[in-house]
């Protein structure tokens, strides 16, 4: 049962290369992969668990390649970098399978993103990214534990429109944690129905003002390219931290509302990671992630 749970959570690899790359995959520790139907038999013969798959299939939603994008030609209400992230899409269409086709350098982040949001992700990396992807999958397997419910401050009644989608994007971008709900839910501090929103930036800003920063579950300081997701069960919480740039983030300061003990900090690519400057201040628990690449995860306990 646990194997099945892990298989559902840890992203899979879509690999359209021939079996002449089998040794490379084995060296990377990959034994299970999605392949074009025509290649499945050959891959099975090579000793792999090969699942026939078509990336463009209707039952696989297309995820964007996660990244920070320089878009100087697009007007913006802030000077914050433009981030292509999929978390808001995952919230909108929970339960779907998501297909990523990633350019060089983005596969590890894509895998981490899919894992952090608990979606069934299939990643088609650039061939040069195979090692990064495999290392991320190994990391995810090592840190994996049963999923918990997403923690959020905001309930969003989503009408499925583009403008509503942009509101979801901006809320996620600003680390204003939300869940998509069918109708306003009193368990969230703020419920909103972004119908026909003319200015999504202002709408998101107004949501933030209504909530108040002091009530936000998560605040991040020291970077504009990091997005967080928090899950928990009241006694324990897990904070997923995704860095959408290709550069290391140094000195990311994290604040989680409430009093917590930081049980563990795991940083992809770091054998030993320790949170620095842990402190409780003004109703929140703060710590610093000294250095991180695409992904880090912090486990918190009451």
């Amino acid at each position: 049962m646990k194997f099945l749970l892990l298989a559902a959570l840890v992203p899979g690899l879509y690999w359209d290369q021939g079996t002449d790359t089998a040794a490379e995959l084995k060296r990377s520790g990959i034994t299970r992969l999605y392949v074009p139907a025509a290649n499945a038999a050959a891959w099975r013969s090579a000793g792999f668990e090969a699942v026939p798959f078509t990336p463009g299939a209707p039952r696989c939603e297309a995820a964007e390649a996660p990244r920070v994008e320089l878009r100087m030609d697009v007007a913006s209400a802030t000077n914050a970098p433009w981030i292509d992230a999929n978390g808001w899409r995952f919230e909108r269409k929970a339960g779907d399978k998501w297909c990523y086709r990633t350019p060089a350098g983005a596969a590890a982040l894509a895998a981490a993103e899919a894992y952090a949001y608990g979606v069934d992700g299939v990643i088609q990396p650039a061939p040069t990214d195979l090692g990064d992807f495999a290392r991320m999958v190994a990391f995810l397997r090592r840190i994996d534990r049963p999923p918990m419910e997403a923690m959020a401050n905001i309930g969003v009644v989503d009408d499925g429109s583009d403008s509503s989608g942009e509101v979801l994007n901006l809320l996620a971008r600003r680390n204003l944690l939300f869940r998509v709900v069918r109708s306003p839910d009193p368990k969230y501090e703020v419920n909103v129905e972004p119908r026909e929103v003319e200015d999504p930036h202002e709408f998101a800003a107004e949501v933030r003002r209504k909530l108040g920063d002091e009530r936000r579950w998560v605040r991040l300081y020291g970077s504009q390219v990091v997005i967080a997701r928090l899950t928990g069960d009241g006694r324990r919480a897990r904070l997923h931290v995704l860095n959408y740039s290709h550069r290391q983030v140094l000195g990311l300061r994290v604040r989680v509302r409430g009093s917590w003990r930081l049980a563990a900090l795991e940083v992809f690519g770091k054998e030993k990671a320790a949170a620095a400057d842990v402190v409780e201040r003004d109703g929140g628990t703060e710590f610093t992630v000294a250095e991180m690449g695409p992904y880090a995860v912090a486990d918190l306990e009451r």
């Binding site: 802030t78 991040l220 300081y221 020291g222 550069r247 983030v249 300061r253 620095a276 003004d282 250095e291």
Partner: protein, 375 residues
């Protein structure tokens, strides 16, 4: 260490608000450091500025600095400020062998304008003369790429270092997570500006070496802005739009402990200056040569004199005043870089008076005593 917020700052800000009538952002200051009575800004020489004119300190065409003239100017300035005969006695009033001294240079306009290398060398030499060990002297600034164009390490004694908070722009690990000002100016998500760790955890004293410069957002940039925006992270957010928050942010940051108490001496570098398009100096046509150094412990008084120096030069060049707030002259974009009658922002030279209301010094000229000397 027991951390707590100082709410006194908020009270002081309210007082300043009452004095100015402006709406202020809501600042939250977090620090556990306490003031050192009588030390720092405005320090023992409140309302007092020593001004040294040194016409031979720089040859304008080549911009070659005469180190001997500069040495004499520094000696005269320190003695004029303190009343001592021997400049060594003057330096010893501020620094001792047990100190770790940070020299806050300004490299934001480098290489066109920055804290003059020869002045930095002279400050370090005087620190050494009163017993500060070279390994306890360091220059600091926020951005490595700016410092790299100046190479202060070449003029410092062996063992002294040059420290940048951000080798790569945006790194946050050399700022102190426990000392910050939190404020939301325009809905930005990162609402904290943290003090540099070299200020909180290394320096026992700081010498502030600003330039004499125009600044498109704050009107001018002198002692207050150099130590404030140069001492904290995430400050450019205050001037992301035409209407900036430099008016209240500069003084608010400068007043945070331990920066306030550890900044014990200011030497304003007017060997070169910039009268328009600052803080940068991309075009030499806006550079000028006041050939003047100001010495003091009161950053407000020094910056008050700077206001008249910059505005006087602008007037002489038929440029609009730093006090101009006519929106017809404000055109975001490139025009500002070339035309001294165009601004990018609504300038806020009132930030200096605001800082006075926070207790950082004397703003009224009638309360400022300027001791003049010539070299």
């Amino acid at each position: 260490m027991d951390r707590r917020s100082f709410l006194g700052m908020a009270a002081a800000a309210r007082s300043a608000l009452a004095a100015t009538g402006d709406n202020l952002p809501k600042y939250r200051v977090v620090t556990s450091y306490k003031p050192v009575p009588g030390q720092g800004m405005p320090g023992p020489y409140r309302g007092q500025v020593a001004s040294v004119m040194a016409p031979r300190v720089i040859e304008e065409a080549s911009e070659k600095v005469d180190a001997a003239v500069l040495r004499e100017a520094v000696a005269r300035g320190m003695c004029a400020l303190t009343g001592d005969r021997d400049p060594r006695d003057s330096w010893a009033r501020f620094f001792s062998a047990t100190d770790v001294v940070g020299i806050k240079v300004n490299a934001s306009g480098a290489p066109g304008i920055c804290s003059t290398r020869e002045l930095v060398a002279e400050v370090a030499r005087n620190l050494g003369a009163v017993g500060v060990r070279p390994e306890n002297i360091f220059c600091f600034e926020r951005f490595r790429n700016q410092l790299d164009t100046v190479r202060y390490e070449e003029v410092l004694p062996k063992g002294a270092t040059v420290e940048a908070a951000e080798d790569d722009r945006g790194r946050n690990d050399r700022y102190d997570p426990d000392v910050f000002v939190e404020v939301d100016f325009f809905g930005e998500d990162d609402t904290r500006s943290n003090m540099q760790r070299v200020v909180t955890r290394r320096a026992t004293k700081i010498v502030n070496l600003p330039n004499m410069k125009d600044h498109g957002a704050s009107g001018v940039t002198g002692c207050l802005k150099n130590i404030a925006y140069g001492g904290f992270s995430n400050v450019a957010r205050s001037h992301s739009g035409v209407k900036t928050n430099t008016y209240s942010f500069i003084g608010t940051l400068a007043a945070v402990e331990p920066l306030r108490s550890r900044t014990v001496l200011g030497i304003m570098d007017g060997i070169r200056g910039v009268w328009h398009a600052g803080p940068f100096s991309l075009s030499r046509k806006f550079r000028f040569y006041p050939k003047q150094l100001l010495f003091g412990t009161d950053p407000v008084a020094m910056d008050r004199l700077l206001l008249d120096i910059i505005d006087g030069k602008r007037k002489a060049e038929n440029a609009m005043s730093v006090w101009n707030r006519n929106m017809a002259n404000i055109k975001p974009g490139k025009g500002y870089d070339d035309n001294p009658n165009i601004d990018r922002f609504i300038r806020e030279p009132g930030h200096i008076e605001f800082a006075a209301h926070l207790g950082l010094g004397e703003y009224e000229l009638s309360r400022i005593r300027e001791q003049k000397a010539d070299v």
